[in-house]
C-alpha cells in the first residue's frame, strides 16, 4: 500500500493523542469517588491508575478493540482498503479533537461515544448508510442506556448490603473488618474470572471453564488475604466517634477503597483504552495485510501503546484533575465511594468482556445515583446529571460530523 508508513505513523500519533486525553481527563472520573471520599490520596490514585490502567488495557482490552475495529462498519462495503484507513484515522482524530474541545469547556464527554459516532459518520459519508452495521450500533446504544442503570442497581444493592451487614449491627467496626474481605474476595474473583475466561487469547493463554474458575478463586483469596492484613492495622478512633458514631467504620472502608480503585482502573483500562486503540489496531492490520476484513490477530503492542498513552496523560495532566476532585468532593464518605466504585467496576468489566464499548464516566454517575437512591448521599446535583445526559446526546452527531470532515480532508491529501 502506498503511504503505508505514513498511515501507521499518523495512526500512532493520533492514538497516543487520544489516549493521552483519556488519561488526562477520564481516569480522574473513573477513580474520583475513592479520591473524593478521601479514602486514598491523589498520589496513591496516580500510582494505582498507572499500573492497573495499563494491566487492564493489556489483559482485558482485546474484546472492546475487536468491536471497534470490526463491529461497526461492514467491511464488505469498503471498495478499497485505503478508504477504511482514512476512516479510522478520521475517527481517531475526531475523538481526540472533541475530547480536547469538550474538556476545555468542562463538558463531560465520553471517548467511547465519540469514537462510535465518528465511525458511524465515516460509514455514512464515505460508504453508504447500509455499510453501518446498524444492528450492532443499536446494541451499543442500548448498552449506553442500560449500563448506567445496571451500575446504579448494583450500587443500590451494595449500599443496602453494607448497611445490613456492617453498619446496622451491634459492632459495626468489627463487622466491617470481618465482612470487608468478603467484598474484596467477590470483586477480585469476578474481575479475574471475567478476564481469564477465554479473554486472554491475544496473549495465547487459553483456559478451560474449570481452570478459569480455579484461578479466579485463587486470585480472590489472595486479594482477600491482603485486604485482611491491611484491615488489621485499623484501630477504633474514640475521639472521632464522639462527633460521628460511624467514624471508625468509615476508617475501615479506606483500605477497601484501595481495592475498588484498583479494579476501577483495571476496568477503565480494559474499556476506554481499548476504544482508543481500536482504530489504530484496524489501521495496522489493514496496512500490513491489505485485508479489510481484518481477520488477523490483535497486535499486543497496540494495547501497550494505549496503556502508555494513558499513563502519559495521567502524569502530565491527570494528576491535576485528580487533585481538583480530591478537594471539590467533600461530602462523600469512604463507604459510599466504595459502593459506587465497586458497582461501576463490575459493570464496566462485564460490559467490556461482552465487547460493549461503554462509558465509564456515565456508569460511575449511574452508580452514584444508585447510592443516592438508597438515601446514602446527602446531596446530588441533578443539573450535572442533566449535563452528562446532554453530552451523551450531542456527542454522537458531533463525532460523526468531525469524522466526515476529517475523512474528506484525508481523501483530499492522500486520494
Amino acid at each position: 500500500m502506498e503511504y503505508a508508513a505514513v498511515f501507521i505513523t499518523l495512526a500512532i500519533i493520533f492514538a497516543l493523542y487520544m489516549t493521552w486525553g483519556v488519561g488526562a481527563n477520564d481516569v480522574a472520573n473513573a477513580m474520583g469517588t475513592s479520591v473524593g471520599s478521601g479514602a486514598i490520596t491523589v498520589r496513591k490514585a496516580i500510582l494505582i491508575a498507572a499500573v492497573f490502567e495499563f494491566t487492564g488495557a493489556f489483559l482485558a482490552g482485546g474484546h472492546v478493540t475487536g468491536t471497534i475495529r470490526k463491529g461497526i462498519i461492514d467491511a464488505s462495503y469498503v471498495p478499497a482498503p485505503e478508504i477504511l484507513v482514512w476512516g479510522m484515522l478520521s475517527a481517531l482524530l475526531a475523538a481526540g479533537v472533541w475530547l480536547m474541545v469538550a474538556s476545555y469547556y468542562g463538558l463531560p464527554v465520553s471517548t467511547t461515544h465519540t469514537i462510535v459516532g465518528a465511525l458511524v459518520g465515516f460509514g455514512i459519508v464515505a460508504l453508504e448508510v447500509d455499510a453501518v452495521q446498524w444492528q450492532k450500533v443499536g446494541g451499543i446504544l442500548a448498552s449506553w442506556l442500560i449500563s448506567p442503570v445496571i451500575g446504579g442497581c448494583i450500587a443500590f444493592l451494595l449500599t443496602l448490603s453494607v448497611r445490613r451487614f456492617i453498619l446496622d449491627t451491634d459492632d459495626p467496626f468489627g463487622s466491617a473488618k470481618r465482612v470487608g474481605p468478603v467484598y474484596i474476595f467477590l470483586m477480585g474473583a469476578l474481575i479475574a474470572l471475567v478476564t481469564l475466561f477465554k479473554g486472554l487469547k491475544h496473549l495465547n493463554v487459553n483456559m478451560s471453564v474449570g481452570q478459569s474458575f480455579a484461578v479466579a478463586t485463587a486470585v480472590g483469596v489472595i486479594v482477600a488475604v491482603v485486604g485482611k492484613l491491611l484491615l488489621r492495622r485499623i484501630e477504633v478512633d474514640r475521639e472521632a466517634e464522639k462527633e460521628f458514631h460511624y467514624a471508625s467504620v468509615e476508617k475501615v472502608f479506606a483500605p477497601l477503597c484501595v481495592f475498588t480503585a484498583c479494579s476501577m482502573a483495571f476496568a477503565h483500562g480494559s474499556n476506554d483504552v481499548a476504544n482508543g486503540v481500536g482504530p489504530l489496531a484496524a489501521v495496522v492490520s489493514i496496512v500490513t495485510t491489505g485485508d479489510v476484513e481484518q481477520t488477523s490477530a490483535l497486535p499486543v503492542w497496540v494495547l501497550i501503546l494505549g496503556g502508555t498513552g494513558i499513563v502519559l496523560g495521567l502524569a502530565t495532566m491527570g494528576y491535576r484533575v485528580m487533585r481538583t476532585i480530591g478537594t471539590k468532593i467533600t461530602e462523600l464518605t469512604p463507604s459510599r465511594g466504595f459502593c459506587a466504585e465497586l458497582a461501576a467496576a463490575s459493570t464496566v468489566v462485564i460490559a467490556s468482556r461482552l465487547g460493549l464499548p461503554v462509558s465509564t464516566t456515565h456508569i460511575i454517575v449511574g452508580a452514584v445515583l444508585g447510592v443516592g437512591l438508597a438515601r446514602g448521599i446527602a446531596a446530588i446535583d441533578l443539573r450535572v446529571v442533566m449535563g452528562i445526559v446532554t453530552s451523551w446526546v450531542v456527542t454522537l452527531p458531533i463525532g460523526a460530523t468531525l469524522a466526515a470532515f476529517f475523512y474528506f480532508f484525508f481523501k483530499g491529501v492522500f486520494g
Binding site: 476545555y104 443496602l160 448497611r163 452514584v368
Partner: protein, 226 residues
C-alpha cells in the same frame, strides 16, 4: 485543557452540616436565657442588657446560617430527604432562637421585676425549657448518623427514642407553665395590671420555645418516615 471533572460537580454541598451548625448556634443562644432570668431575679440590669445583646447576636448568626443554607438548596438537588421537609425543619429550629430573642428583648425594653408568686417556679421552668432545646440539639446531632444509615435501622430507632424523650420534657414544661399561670392568676390583684399582662405573655413565650423544640423533633420524625 480545564482541570475540571463532571464528577466533582455531581456532589452538591450537604445541607446536613449547616443544619447542625444552625441548631448549635440556636442552642447557644437559648442557653443564655437562664442567666438572663437569674440577672432579672437579682435585679442586675447591666448583666441583663449584656445577655440580651449576646442573645441578639447569636440569633443574627443563626439567621445568617439559615439564609446561606436556603440560598443553596436549589430544586435540582437530589437529597435523601424531602427538600420542603428540610426547609420546614430549618424554620422550626430558627423559631426557637427567634422566640428566645423576643423574650430577651421584652425583658430589656420593659423593666420588670419577678413577682413574689413566680419566684419559686420561674427558674426551674426556664431551665427545663433550655433542657428541651438541648435535647433538640442532640437529636439534630444525629442527622449525619441518619444519613449514614439511610434513615433506617438502629440510628432511626435511637432518634425516635430521643424524640420521645424530647416530647416528655416538653410535657413537663407545659405542666410547669400551667402551674406558673395559676400562681400568676392568684396574685393578679396584688400586681400592676400591665405587669400581669406581660408576665402572662412571658410565660407563654417561654413555653413556645419548648414547643418549637418539640416541633423540630416531630419534623425530624417526618424526615425519617418520608
Amino acid at each position: 485543557m480545564r482541570t475540571t471533572s463532571p464528577l466533582a460537580g455531581l456532589f452538591g454541598r450537604s445541607p446536613i452540616g449547616p443544619m447542625q451548625a444552625h441548631m448549635k448556634v440556636v442552642t447557644d443562644c437559648v442557653n443564655n436565657i437562664v442567666p438572663l432570668f437569674e440577672a432579672l431575679g437579682e435585679g442586675d440590669r447591666e448583666r441583663l442588657v449584656a445577655l440580651n445583646d449576646k442573645i441578639h447576636a447569636l440569633e443574627g448568626e443563626a439567621d445568617d446560617i439559615k439564609n446561606e443554607l436556603r440560598s443553596r438548596l436549589p430544586k435540582s438537588l437530589f437529597m435523601p430527604v424531602d427538600r420542603r421537609d428540610l426547609l420546614d425543619l430549618l424554620n422550626a429550629q430558627d423559631s426557637i432562637a427567634d422566640t428566645a430573642q423576643d423574650v430577651a428583648g421584652l425583658l430589656e425594653v420593659r423593666k420588670m421585676e419577678v413577682p413574689e408568686a413566680l419566684k419559686q417556679g420561674l427558674l426551674p421552668y426556664v431551665r427545663r425549657t433550655v433542657d428541651a432545646v438541648e435535647q433538640c440539639n442532640r437529636v439534630i446531632n444525629e442527622l449525619d448518623e441518619l444519613v449514614e444509615m439511610g434513615f433506617r435501622g438502629r440510628a432511626g430507632e435511637r432518634v425516635e427514642e430521643m424524640v420521645g424523650e424530647l416530647g416528655a420534657i416538653e410535657t413537663e414544661t407545659d405542666d410547669q407553665g400551667l402551674e406558673l399561670t395559676r400562681a400568676l392568676f392568684a396574685a393578679e390583684d396584688e400586681m400592676k395590671p400591665l405587669d400581669v399582662v406581660f408576665w402572662y405573655e412571658l410565660i407563654q413565650r417561654i413555653g413556645d420555645i419548648a414547643d418549637f423544640a418539640e416541633d423540630v423533633g416531630d419534623r425530624l420524625r417526618l424526615l425519617i418516615a418520608r
